[in-house]
Amino acid sequence: MNRIASTFSSLKQQNRKALISFITAGDPDPKTTVALMHQLVQAGVDLIELGVPFSDPMADGPTIQRASERALKHHVGLKDVLALVATFRETNQTVPVVLMGYANPVEAMGYANFAKQAHEAGVDGVLVVDYPPEECAEWVQCLEQWDIDPIFLLSPTTPQARIEQVAKLAKGYVYYVSLKGVTGAAHLDIDSVNRKLASLRTYINVPIGVGFGIRDAQSARIISEQADAVVVGSRIVEEIEQSSADNLLNNVGQFVQSLRHAIDGTKTDNSLREADS
């Protein structure tokens, strides 16, 4: 069982829901990324989605666009992101890491070359936003050869036939985009998310994570009642953006911890200290 499957299976045994956090690799700078990943784990994150910076992040709202631009100022490319994952793996062999990004950096590296290097770095899954299922048969094959899960998006507008198609390809978990629009948008309709999740479960056998528009502990808690995982991205990136170098780890940790407690239905105990790596 790979890290993603075992994470979801042990959470299920404990009757808990997963908290997935997104940060962009290299934001605000490459030397902070690994410390930030350890801090996320310490604060209660079950799986880390690590954004691969891209010059043209079409599906992202302004917050994650800016994160990408900050990382690109440091010339953080796909190879650097893999190196950051490898460093994280030196001291953490359990928490799954999923790369999330756009097609072109992967195209530039080559599918087979990427899959092998990602496996060696300790990557567990990859979500390429602009590889829909019909364009990525060869890509999925390359990933599976190296035991990396292809993660797919589903949206409120995805028709049933496509849901079935995604169900056949998806490994690890699927990422349900809970609203129309780009990352970081603000109008989440929880009832419609819950209705959609119920119908998705007819076809999808892997866990379902819900993201886009989850901005606070309350929305995280409500979404976690129906979803297997809650994905929070833009809101964490905002914490990073608004923090100084001194309080960045602490601020992100506090915020993530509040999400964790909301999802688990436990109280905040302020016991969090900065991760020491």
């Binding site: 891209f54 010059s55 043209d56 992040p57 079409m58 599906a59 709202g61 302004p62 666009q65 631009e69 690109l72 010339h75 490319g77 796909l78 190879k79 756009y102 097609a103 072109n104 950096p105 992967v106 195209e107 530039a108 590296m109 936003v129 602009d130 590889y131 829909p132 019909e134 364009e135 797919f152 998006l153 589903l154 949206s155 507008t157 995805t158 028709p159 496509r162 985009v177 129309k180 629009g181 780009v182 948008a185």
Partner: protein
């Protein structure tokens, strides 16, 4: 050449094209494919499209023999397909009329567009006014600054111009932002893409609407010259005017097809937009095609004196025509294009757009190598009034 029947049902031109978009856009694209497939074969739709092209756009555009210039160059004869005489002054309107008619039939009340220099924005604002639709145009803030006159034209036509501050603040960023708008407002909004790029069905659909250029040329050539030209020459940014001219000629193997890209300050300077000449395949803006990119797959900012050619990608059909050898792609510099601009003004009394001046510059190189009875058909894709300030600035004159 074998029978040419591209793209396939999923928008592929060989390995290029396709639908590389986030899941959130798939349903909108499927709806568009379905509706376009229906209306491209609908006699009533086609009749209305051609009626509009005739009475609103002013088609057919003539083919003009630039005799004085040809004599001066002393070789083959240069013929100009006069797309500059269209309403709004460029070929862009052929496509926006077609897409606006489609948007209306799909019940969309709001259209959005991206624009670089502002030509496609103006053409979109124009048809939105003509058909009574709300129009939002995304334009990089850098381009808003450089193209103030076109911004004002769009506003006069009733459009809202939204400056885009992300990335390099130019055309590609405007396109990113238009995509984001479309994802968010997909129910009532139609996205009018201005070139033969983007996800399927845009490259095919925009080509089909622009193919009126080549179809007219074929019958005009036969009528006026009794034969087809020896070569077609057109500038290529995204490539819509070029594909419009080339597509009906793909099966005519004796007709060379030459696409001219922007070499900017030179293809060895990194300040150019010669995608097919210097780039390598990748995925951007919904399709697989040649791209100007660094070794990490990041898209590099391009440069051309002509904003309409200043784009790091190119239509996937051009990528395929290059790989299979049916079309040739070359690049000319800012300086060569400017020189052709001035020459056409002086020899023919025609002020070409700086984009089209790239095609003219290559024609000026090729013509002297040809016999006097050989014919070069150049797509004069737009007029140069919009470029007055740029040209003046290059000559050290402030207007």
């Amino acid at each position: 050449m074998k029978i040419y029947n591209l793209p396939d049902a999923h928008g592929h031109f060989g390995p290029y094209g396709g639908t590389f978009v986030a899941e959130t856009l798939i349903a909108a694209l499927e709806e568009l494919c379905e509706q376009y497939e229906h209306y491209r074969n609908d006699a009533e739709f086609q009749a209305e499209f051609h009626r509009e092209l005739k009475h609103y756009v002013g088609r057919p555009s003539p083919i003009y023999h630039a005799k004085r210039w040809s004599d001066h160059l002393g070789g083959g004869q240069i013929l100009l397909k006069r797309e500059d005489l269209n309403h709004t002054g460029a070929h862009k309107i052929n496509n926006t009329v077609g897409q606006a008619l489609l948007a209306r039939r799909m019940g969309k009340t709001r259209v959005i567009a991206e624009t670089g220099a502002g030509q496609h924005g103006v053409a979109s604002a124009t048809v939105a006014a003509r058909y009574g639709m709300e129009c939002i145009v995304y334009m990089g803030s850098e381009d808003v600054r450089r193209q103030a006159t076109n911004v004002y034209r769009m506003k006069l036509l009733g459009a809202t111009v939204v400056p885009v501050d992300s990335g390099s603040r130019t055309l590609k960023d405007a396109l990113n932002e238009a995509m984001r708008d479309w994802v968010t407002n997909v129910e009532n909004t139609y996205y009018i893409i201005g070139t033969v790029a983007g996800p399927h069905p845009y490259p095919m659909m925009v080509r089909d609407f622009q193919a009126i250029i080549g179809r007219e040329a074929k019958s005009q050539m036969l009528e006026d010259y009794g034969r087809q030209p020896d070569a077609l020459i057109a500038c290529v940014g995204g490539g819509s005017n070029a594909i419009g001219l080339f597509y009906p000629y793909v099966g005519e193997e004796n007709v060379r097809m030459i696409g001219v890209e922007a070499a900017g300050k030179g293809i060895d300077t990194h300040q150019h937009a010669a995608t097919l000449v210097t780039g390598r395949p990748g995925v951007l803006h919904g399709n697989r095609t040649y791209l100007i990119q660094d070794e990490n797959g990041q898209i590099i900012e391009t440069h051309s004196i002509s904003a309409g050619l200043d784009y790091p990608g190119v239509g996937p059909e051009h990528a395929w025509l290059k790989d299979c050898g049916r079309a040739e792609y070359v690049a000319v510099t800012d300086e060569e294009a400017l020189s052709a601009f001035h020459t056409l003004c002086r020899f023919e009394g025609i002020m070409p757009a700086l984009e089209s001046s790239h095609a003219l510059a290559y024609a000026a190189k090729l013509a002297p190598t040809l016999a006097k009875d050989q014919l070069l058909l150049v797509n004069l894709s737009g007029r140069g009034d919009k470029d007055m300030a740029t040209v003046a600035q290059q000559s050290g004159i402030s207007l």
